[in-house]
Amino acid sequence: MKKGNTVFFKNKPCIESFSAVCGSKEKEGIIGQYADIALDDDMYGESTYEKAECKMLTTAILQCIEKRGMTEKDVDVLISGDLLNQIISASFAARDYDIPFLGVYSACSTMSESIMLGAMLVNAGYVKRAVAATGSHFASAERQYRYPLELGCTRPPQSQWTVTGAGSCMIGKSGKIKIVSATMGKVCDFGVTDVNNMGAAMAPAAADSIMQHLKDTGTQSDDYDMILTGDLGALGSRIVKDLCWEKGFDISKVHVDCGEIIYKVVENEFQGGSGAGCSATVLNSYVLTKMQAGLYKRILFAATGALLSTVSSGQGESIPCISHVVEMEL
């Protein structure tokens, strides 16, 4: 059933298991004790950062399947994507598994997009079980989007720190946490061209999708225990609250941003974490663990993505952004 841009899942697909792998810097923060594997070495024993990112993703997928006491044969489809060009981490991780693979790209909102697609497939009965996964690595993202790691330059105060980590979750038919509905996001572009200010670029997309979801489902923000955005950072979080408030939706009491909470901001993280791994690790460790324990009963997960490339930003294009919303409840 569909109303507006929101799809309602009648057969209630569930999160059967979830898993997260995080890097050394993330280990210090809130997700450290909830992640299945917290690395001490960001290279993860590999020769390049790209390989390390791929290995994190592979491990997260494997952990997720094994935690459920299953093997790869029990999974019908793997939906995954990442930030690198031609989504190499996801495709290379899928190479290790005997599972059909659907590659998706939605920048940092890949997690919510893949959960949504997985839930759609399971709900329709096309597959029994789907695994949704994504990840990112600080060093590989830095190399692709910004400068070499060792270059001695300053970071502007609006900037965020790409999260090193990967998360995955299995969507099936039995489980405690149910996926109730999902809103497909529209691409929003308010003309922000500053690539260091992703929070401001992505906030309108998050606000648009969240408000669309509230309208379509006829709910209030207070009906949720938490509205979790992906990687808006401290600045973007302020903006999204303002934008929603302006349209008559007060989300300030329940809004939490993964990027804002992931680090103890001490060094150069400034506005907080970003990247596909940000929402993936926070959701698949801290949030879902707490939800399974019954602490949160109903949440909205709205990961946000900035759909730019180094070419488009070099040519002076503004940053189009997207946000997909997934509603989960016990």
């Binding site: 070499p148 790691l149 001695g152």
Partner: protein, 149 residues
């Protein structure tokens, strides 16, 4: 409200986010740039005195001092120290010759994984290329002005 079509809302939004921007701490940045930049120059001067002491002079002395500073810049980059200095000092560590060394060494380290020729050698000047081009260009302009005056 998906953006681009509503030009008016765009400019309102851009003005609004400008008001929300965390301020850049210009005074503090200038101060740390001045301190660290000055310190690098002092180290350079110290090296110069030492080289003079062991008997170098003229062009030889200036050249050797630069070579030693470049070496130190490269070494600190390789050890992963220079980027930390750079984050704190900003222009203070970019402007001296050690900063130039850093801008050549850092992509060389970064792109080594893509091979020695197309990776390291070809991409070594991704950052420093701009410095070389505009350095030579402004050198020519200043030279011409000097010639005609």
């Amino acid at each position: 409200m998906t953006g681009k079509t509503t030009e008016n809302f765009n400019s309102n939004y851009l003005n609004y986010i400008k008001s929300q921007d965390p301020p850049t701490q210009h005074f503090k940045n200038c101060l740390s740039a001045f301190g660290v930049g000055g310190l690098i120059c002092c180290i350079g001067q110290f090296i110069r005195f030492m080289l003079e002491y062991i008997g170098l002079s003229g062009d030889e002395l200036a050249g050797t001092t630069s070579v030693v500073l470049i070496f130190l810049g490269c070494l600190l980059t390789g050890l992963g120290v220079y980027d930390r200095i750079g984050r704190y000092a900003g222009a203070g560590s970019i402007v001296p010759i050690t900063g130039f060394a850093n801008s050549v060494t850092s992509p060389a380290i970064e792109f080594k994984t893509e091979g020695w020729i197309y990776g390291m050698a070809a991409k070594m000047f991704t950052v420093a290329g701009a410095i070389v081009v505009f350095g030579v260009f402004s050198g020519v302009i200043v030279g011409l002005i000097y010639y005609f005056i």
